[in-house]
């Protein structure tokens, strides 16, 4: 369990993380979102004990990060931003060094390396120097070193950055497959990654927490959540739609001949719309429900507060 209370980090006059509090339990896969410079990496660096805390506290399984640094570090697997690794070592040498550093007993090291190499598919480059690897392989080496000691807590700073779609899919699958008893914290810029992998989302901006709930709740924030879009074969009178119970608004796109119907309080209006279309014999080619548009929600969450901040 990770308990963060009133965490603050200042760099000179700049407050990178401001009064951040949250609690993460086993089984949580947390998507850590925020604009660039929001304080994501800074928070992760404090969680892993790399950066000292200005004020507040972090406790991991009841251990204070500052006072029990070594014990806490044993529990955590960490992929720092940019997946740094020693370029002059081969992948095998590097993983062997990490295994030794992680105090994996000598006899089990080969096994631990084998298992992690299989998990992230590194067998083909095992004896290559890290400096000669492609970006995707380097990232996977970084993930491998974070996983090698089977940590209870896995903190990954942008694990899919620079990977191609296949590799991204692989990494997401890997994260989802991690035991349910673990804590995983993933920072990312890619919003669909969060809905694909995480069961919890924390959004921070300007060092402050803006959102902390499930990915579904994030989607529900979108105007488009539970909205319906219909495509008309030719123009027809659809004003009647507005009279339907639960319909809040219509948005007509003349170019694509599509009409998006927004529901009141994001209730499910599928049945009502289908029924109406059927009864009125509207010339509908296509009818489909909308997903919440995360990009919009993300912008709204991270921006609106900035505007407020400027006013106050």
């Amino acid at each position: 369990m990770i308990l963060v209370e009133n965490l603050t980090r200042k760099f000179g006059h700049h407050t990178a993380v401001n009064n951040l509090s949250f609690e993460i339990k086993s089984g949580d896969i947390v998507g850590f979102l925020g604009p660039n410079g929001a304080g994501k990496s800074t928070t992760m660096k404090m969680l892993t004990g790399f950066l000292p805390i200005s004020s507040g506290s972090i406790s991991i399984d009841g251990l204070d990060v500052d006072k029990n640094a070594i014990k806490v570090k044993h529990k955590i697997g960490y992929l720092p931003e940019g997946a740094p690794a020693y370029p002059d070592m081969t992948v095998y040498q590097f993983l062997h060094f990490i295994a030794a550093a992680r105090k994996i007993p000598r006899k089990e090291r080969a096994l631990a390396i084998d298992s992690v190499v299989e998990k992230v598919a590194l067998a083909s480059v095992l004896n290559k120097s890290i400096e000669n690897l492609s970006k995707g392989f380097k990232r996977r080496v970084g993930i491998a070193q974070a996983l090698i000691h089977d940590p209870d807590i896995l903190i990954l700073d942008e694990p899919t950055d620079g990977l191609d779609p296949n590799q991204k899919h692989q990494v997401r699958k890997l994260i989802s497959a991690l035991a349910e008893t673990k804590i995983v914290i993933v920072s990312t810029h890619i919003l669909e990654e969060v809905t694909a992998v995480c069961n919890r989302v924390i959004i921070i901006a300007d060092g402050e927490k803006r959102f902390d709930d499930t990915p579904l709740a994030l989607q529900q924030r979108s105007k488009y959540h539970n909205a319906m879009t219909i495509k008309l074969s030719y123009m027809a009178d659809i004003s009647g739609l507005l009279e339907l119970p639960g319909v809040a608004d219509l948005k007509h796109d003349k170019d694509t001949k599509r009409v998006t119907i927004f529901s009141e309080e994001q209730q499910d209006i599928t049945a009502i719309i289908q029924d109406y279309v059927h009864k009125q014999n509207l010339p509908v080619d296509l009818i489909f429900p909308e997903q919440g548009r995360l990009d919009d929600v993300f912008r709204e969450i991270t921006r609106s507060q900035v505007a407020e901040g400027e006013v106050s």
Binding site: K45, F50, I70, H74, G82, D88, M89, A101, R102
Partner: protein, 244 residues
């Protein structure tokens, strides 16, 4: 202890993973040969000892040790591996010591590889091998002082070249402090206390007896304390700067 050893092993093998260590050793051996035979007049002195070899060690270390020490922390910080290293279950002190001992071992290897000189001098005459051994030990100890200073400078900056230059300049001050040039200049106006202090901080002064094979407690302590102080200063700097 085990942790320090793990870091030391990684650092040591990383010196040999790239040409750095080989080039360094080659230059070290060539330079020490040049100093001993050409400048030190090894043959002309007609004595079966290695004084002409050891005499030049402070000057040899002045340029060569910073080349070994400059990468210690600068590279870690520049490439970001410092974040990886320091989130592994190591303390900063263990990392510092691991890095220091690895580089010190490289310097020790260099000294060991000068053994043909020792063979030559034994072939040519009948030297006191005890003296030679203690001079070797003393020289290694002094190289540790240069090294600790260089590591401290490397902790200061992400730029290896700056670390290299800083290490040379500051080492130079410590070497020069005991040279006649500095001491003669001071003689005219400075009180004896100042002159003694300056001289006592010099690598040269403390190496004079060592090069003759006499390791006094005073000299050994000077180098040991110098090493500890520099490494501690580096430790403080890294704790402050690691995230910048």
């Amino acid at each position: 202890m085990n942790e320090t050893f793990i870091i030391m092993r990684r650092e040591f093998s990383s010196f040999f993973a790239t040409p750095v260590a080989y080039i360094f050793i080659a230059i070290f051996l060539v330079m020490s040969g040049v100093f001993t035979f050409l400048i030190g007049d090894f043959y002309a002195r007609g004595q079966a000892d290695l004084l002409s070899f050891f005499n030049f060690h402070p000057w040899l270390y002045l340029f060569l040790v910073p080349a070994i020490s400059m990468r210690t922390w600068s590279e870690e910080r520049k490439s970001g591996t410092i974040e990886l290293l320091m989130t592994l279950p190591f303390t900063t002190l263990q990392i510092m010591l691991g890095k220091f001992f690895a580089a010190w071992l490289v310097l020790g290897t260099c000294l060991l590889l000068t053994f043909p000189l020792w063979i030559s001098v034994n072939y040519l005459g009948d030297p006191d091998n005890g003296i030679i051994l203690s001079a070797y030990m003393g020289s290694w100890l002094m190289s540790g002082a240069f090294l600790a200073l260089g590591i401290c400078m490397s902790a200061l900056t992400k730029n290896q070249i700056i670390a290299f230059m800083l290490a040379i300049v500051i080492s130079f001050l410590f070497v020069l402090a005991g040279s006649p040039v500095v001491l003669d200049t001071l003689q005219h106006w400075a009180p004896n206390l100042v002159i003694d202090t300056v001289a006592s901080l010099s690598f040269l002064t403390h190496f004079q007896d060592i090069s003759k094979g006499v390791i006094t407690l005073n000299d050994a302590l000077f180098y040991l304390i110098f090493i500890v102080v520099c490494l501690y200063a580096g430790y403080v700097i890294i704790e402050q700067k690691k995230a910048n």
